[in-house]
Symmetry: C2
Subunit: 372 residues, 2 copies
Amino acid sequence: MSFRPAAAVGMPLAEVDTPCLMLELDAFERNLKRLPESLHGRNIRLRPHAKSHKCPEIALRQIALGAAGVCVQKVSEAEALIAGGVKDILVANEVVGAPKVKLLAELNKRAHVAVCADDAGNVAALDAAARAAGVKLDVLVEVDVGAGRCGVQPGAPVVALAQQITASGNLRFAGLQAYQGSAQHIRKVDERRDAITRAVGHVRATTRLLGEAGIACDYVTGAGTGSYMFEAASSVYHELQAGSYIFMDADYAKNEWTESGIPQFEHSLFVWTTVMSAPAPERVVVDAGLKASSIDSGMPRVADYADVDYVKASDEHGVLQSRGATRFKVGDKLKLIPGHCDPTVNLYDWFVCMRNGRVEALWPITARGALL
Amino acid sequence: MSFRPAAAVGMPLAEVDTPCLMLELDAFERNLKRLPESLHGRNIRLRPHAKSHKCPEIALRQIALGAAGVCVQKVSEAEALIAGGVKDILVANEVVGAPKVKLLAELNKRAHVAVCADDAGNVAALDAAARAAGVKLDVLVEVDVGAGRCGVQPGAPVVALAQQITASGNLRFAGLQAYQGSAQHIRKVDERRDAITRAVGHVRATTRLLGEAGIACDYVTGAGTGSYMFEAASSVYHELQAGSYIFMDADYAKNEWTESGIPQFEHSLFVWTTVMSAPAPERVVVDAGLKASSIDSGMPRVADYADVDYVKASDEHGVLQSRGATRFKVGDKLKLIPGHCDPTVNLYDWFVCMRNGRVEALWPITARGALL
């Protein structure tokens, strides 16, 4: 059920079939280095989020550049990455339900796989599964630092759950998951910084309470591509979870970056597409629609042609409209910048890796579809 | 790279892991029969669109109930369905680019695979590929009957392209692809009917012109779940391409159906999901987000709980908000009705087929990810 790749190694760009997911290796490698370099001199670890790429080849490159390991959202993603050679994983999310909790515990015999929790019943289930598997499981308490999604409220609820974890024979209280997800795409730098300042305040108050309860907390993890330098400068975070920096999608590109201290990352991820119909001079249809580029965070952008907009997506078609002199004909190929990299990557089985106009490698997206 | 299914045959519903794509077989089978039954006494064929299900198991059931074959959008979908035993396929779309055109021609040695065209250069490429493969290829001219996507304009441009096809040694002019895609989700019945009436007018004028040019046209194909009875009643269409009727997603359910003559179809396709976090009494988080249910046509609906809304999706999370008395706790499982079935099906490798509360079968979504 896995499809053949759209290209072969060595093939020139013009021959690569469409639609496919294309990774420009030079830009990708610059992004890959730029984030850890931007942390130079700071006492903070990087644990990139692998839900963006779902690819062991990329995880291992991040680790080779100093990352402590990677994050995932799903235990089946952890399984796929462990099979690809990754040894240290944080499931930066709750894992709920008997088969998943069992798998999580079992995986700890092959790699270090920590997990987050925000519920007493779930902590009890994790403890039972760890006992059954004969492992000691690292559990972080997820604290809601403003995103309004998962996590217990800062302060006393965190202490109560940490105490339960500490009292569980097969669990170890590992620290706090404190990701402010809703801050990442706040466009204005000042407002984004303010959201993280509030998150840092919640973390600081909570770790103080934990200390008063006699519970050491030497591991606070969180942050994303949009905000990570603010967490890095806070002195309360120990680890950063940015993921999208390697690809830089169209939605993140709409953020204001100046004065943030966060370097500009380059678009390295593209959907390569063909003009399949040219019904009017200024309006053509490409073969990449909803199943080739997720539109949850806006339409893809057309790369290299500033006067052309991707205006409408249906299942297998995208309509391009020219506002200027650009005219395409049937058979022309062009690059789209996905609106949102994570769910777009999840549509493909392969990264077609390009350098100097030729296919250098094909990397399998091993955790594509890893929903469990 | 294909993931294990979320269930095993015989498993009770409560044990099925999440998120997964669940097909309620009783409702599905009623839908499967209801559409052909609604055409009883009319001289019209059904060729359901397989882009909705991408599954040979379903295609073969549609054909067993009298369908002439199926439609697909991609030549790689045709390949997957032929491997699953389907013998008659219409690629209801243009196929552009050397590797795809070659594959299309080659597949005609194993099955009947017709294709659409709207461009003279593409017709020449199809002819060359058919000659190289030693096959005669059936080509339909796609005519834009109001959707404003692919297709040549009605009238003279269709005649010119049909003449080119007729003059090509390795092609046969098979008829007209006349799908009014933008009519399918017009909510009001009268407006939807009017859009199809205009499409029918374009088809009628065009077939008359073809006849005057000495080109017989005994095959006009089109229509979708939202409009098919209007095309069926028109006397100019020979074949209907409805696909979503088997599943009935939340977007189609918003259409007004009374007075259309189109039977009500039932929701048979669901995303089975678990409450993974319960941060507030009226607000919980489920484990099905953007990668489990496409939101291009709106958020999924919560089945069985009229007072609960799915209000926000992120990659791996969905936020549910209760407007009433319903309260969920961590570990509860529930069903979502996808906003748009086609791109949601494309996120999964398996249909988990349920009957009487147990898993009856697991059907592979063989053409999942078939983008080429």
